[in-house]
Structure formats: C-alpha cells, structure tokens
Amino acid sequence: MTNIAEARIRREFKEVVKSDEVAACNIKVELVNDTFNELRGEIAGPPDTPYAGGQFHLEIKIPETYPFNPPIVKFLTKIWHPNISSVTGAICLDILKDQWAAAMTLRTVLLSLQALLAAAEPDDPQDAVVAQQYKENHSIFEKTARHWTAVYAGGPKSYPDLDSKILSLKTMGFEEHQARAALSSKGWDLERATEYLIN
C-alpha cells in the first residue's frame, strides 16, 4: 500500500472515531489488520425504514490507489434491498463507482450507504428480483426487508407467519437461509418457493 493511502486511512479512522455519528451509534469502523488496507464498517438501519433497529456490517477494502479510487465495499450482513445483492452483498451505488471523488472519506461512504437504505433506487438495481418486488408489490417488499433485518441484523422480531412458512420448508429438508431466500423471491408463496427449490 502506498503511503498516501495508509496515511489517509489513519487520519480518517480518527475522524470517524471522533465523529458525532459514532457518538450516536449510527456508524462505526474497525481495523482488521495493521496495514490499514481492510476495515470493518457498521451502519445502523435508518429509522422509519424496514431496516430500523438493525446493525449492518460491511467489508471495506482500501485499494492501493486510494483515495484516487473508491474503497471496495460490500455488505457482510444479509439484506433485502434493491441496490444490494441478497446473495453476495455487492452494492450498486454511484459514489462507489464513477461518481467517486478523492475528497470523500470513509465517513461519507458510510453515511451514503445509510442514505441508500433510506432511499432505494429500484431503477438502478443490483438485485433484479428485489427491485421488481419493490416496484410491483411494495408491501411484500417491506415485510420481507423487515423480516431479513430481524433475522440477520438483530432488528425487532416480526411476522410469525413468515417464520412458520420457513419452518415448513425446513421440515421438508431445506436449509433455512435457502428456504428464506426462495420464499422471499417468490413473494412468500409456499408452493412456488417449493417448486423453485426442487428445480
């Protein structure tokens, strides 16, 4: 890693640690190793969204050309969101791609991701299935997103009806996350999800 990348991450790290957002438990960064080229981020789900009450963990990789090129960020916590892959956690956000600017920092990235959770852009999706559900069946989308937040991000418990559908697939021998993903993408239609899992 070149000196500028490491020196900047050192400074930014202090900036985030000192910031008001940390005091309010909104965002957080942690070092993974001493070389400052990999970090763990954490953002709180914004209030009044299906992600409220959840804590979402992020993998942040700092390229050698940082800050001239953006950090490489993905969600480690599973999340149901049009701009985040429900499978890999990959993120579709312009500032992490061509709209990156060298003056942006880890703090602005984390706050932008938090803003993305509050305002999805289904017309520029990362997960096509989620984006379609978001546009065509918004109440099912919200319910699913809230359910995923409860299960994977420690959000408030909700929807026992969804849990029982997952349980019935589990008794058929399917793995829990697999069952949840299938039900989520099939609008919680048990029959269609079973069909999907068998094929």
Partner: protein, 190 residues
C-alpha cells in the same frame, strides 16, 4: 497502530470523555484543518486553490486529474477543474516561491522534442514559387514510371527478353511514358 495506542491514554487524561477533546485542543485542530489538503487530509504543501475555493497539494490534485483525464472535476464540489484553473498559493515562509505546477510532479511524459531540421524541402524552396512549381510537375511523371516498374516487380519472375510477356510490358511502359509526356505537355500549354 502503536502511535494510536500511545496517544489514547493522553487523550483520556486530558478530557473527561476521550472522544471529546478539550475546547482548546479542538480549536487548534480546527485552525489547522482550514489549511488541510482535501485529498490527503494533511496540511497542504505546494498548495493550489481551485476556482471553487478548494485547497489541495498540487501533487495530490495532479494525481486526481491524471486518474480521471476525461472527468476533470473538483474532488470536493465537482465543479470543473484543471491545471490552468487553479491558483498557486505562496506563504511567507518560502523565500523563493516557485509555481508548484512547474515543479511538482515532473510534467507528464509524452512530450516530444521538435524534429531536427534536416534542410529539407520546406525550408529550401519556401518563398520560391517558381522552383516549387517546376519540382511538382517534374515529380509527377516519375511517379508514373515507378508505378509501371512496380507492376513488373509483382510478377513471379522477370520475363525473358523476346517473350510475348516481355514485349507486352515494354509496350505498356512505352504507353505510360507517352501518357506522361502528353500530360506534361498539356500542363505546360495550360
């Protein structure tokens, strides 16, 4: 990391809350931060300021402009920016101020020196319209001769003298020669 660890106890003892340094320290920080480069976040050196008022080290800004040659935007506010749209800043401390854009980093490679003047055609005939004119006409038939010779070069082997192919080629080149002479003659008349 070791420096971080050593600074933590000092911070903790200075203020009641380690995340909230005392007011005087905070004030110092903010004063210094005004002169921080917006890219490396360190105190700007070889500083330049953009038209939109944003401060950078010239080497930092230069690298940003090199990274995105097609999209030269201010890293802070995304206003248009470029080498010719920044102003170097000279503080009092430097006795021999030099434009950082001339000094650091070395100008990008890809400059090419002026070609050496070999005393060729343009310098030689420039201003002498008559000479250039006759040269242009004289060169033209030669072009035709070479093209007729090239035709025979492309053949598999040289045709033997007296063979029908040889006579045919001699005939062809004679036609070309006559065409060239007629053309030259026509040019002189016209």
């Amino acid at each position: 990391m070791s420096t971080d660890n050593s600074s933590k106890p000092a911070e903790a003892s200075a203020g009641a809350a380690s995340s909230n340094p005392g007011p005087s320290e905070n004030g110092e920080d903010e004063k210094a931060a005004v002169y921080e480069c917006n890219i490396c976040l360190d105190t700007a050196h070889d500083a330049v300021v953009s038209m939109c008022g944003h401060l950078f080290c010239w080497p930092c800004l230069h690298q940003w402009l090199e990274t995105r040659p097609q999209r030269q935007l201010c890293p802070v506010c995304k206003a248009g920016i470029g080498k010719d749209k920044v102003i170097p800043i000279y503080g009092r401390g430097n006795p021999n101020p030099q434009d950082p854009r001339e000094k650091l980093p070395p100008r990008p490679s890809g400059q090419r020196p002026e070609p050496e003047n070999t005393g060729g055609f343009p310098a030689f005939g420039f201003g002498d319209g008559g000479f250039q004119f006759s040269f242009g006409i004289g060169a033209f038939p030669f072009g035709i001769f070479t093209s007729s010779f090239n035709m025979s070069d492309n053949r598999p082997g040289p045709p033997q003298a007296g063979s029908p192919q040889h006579t045919e080629e001699q005939f062809l080149s004679r036609i070309f020669l006559w065409v060239a002479i007629l053309f030259l003659f026509w040019l002189l008349i016209a």
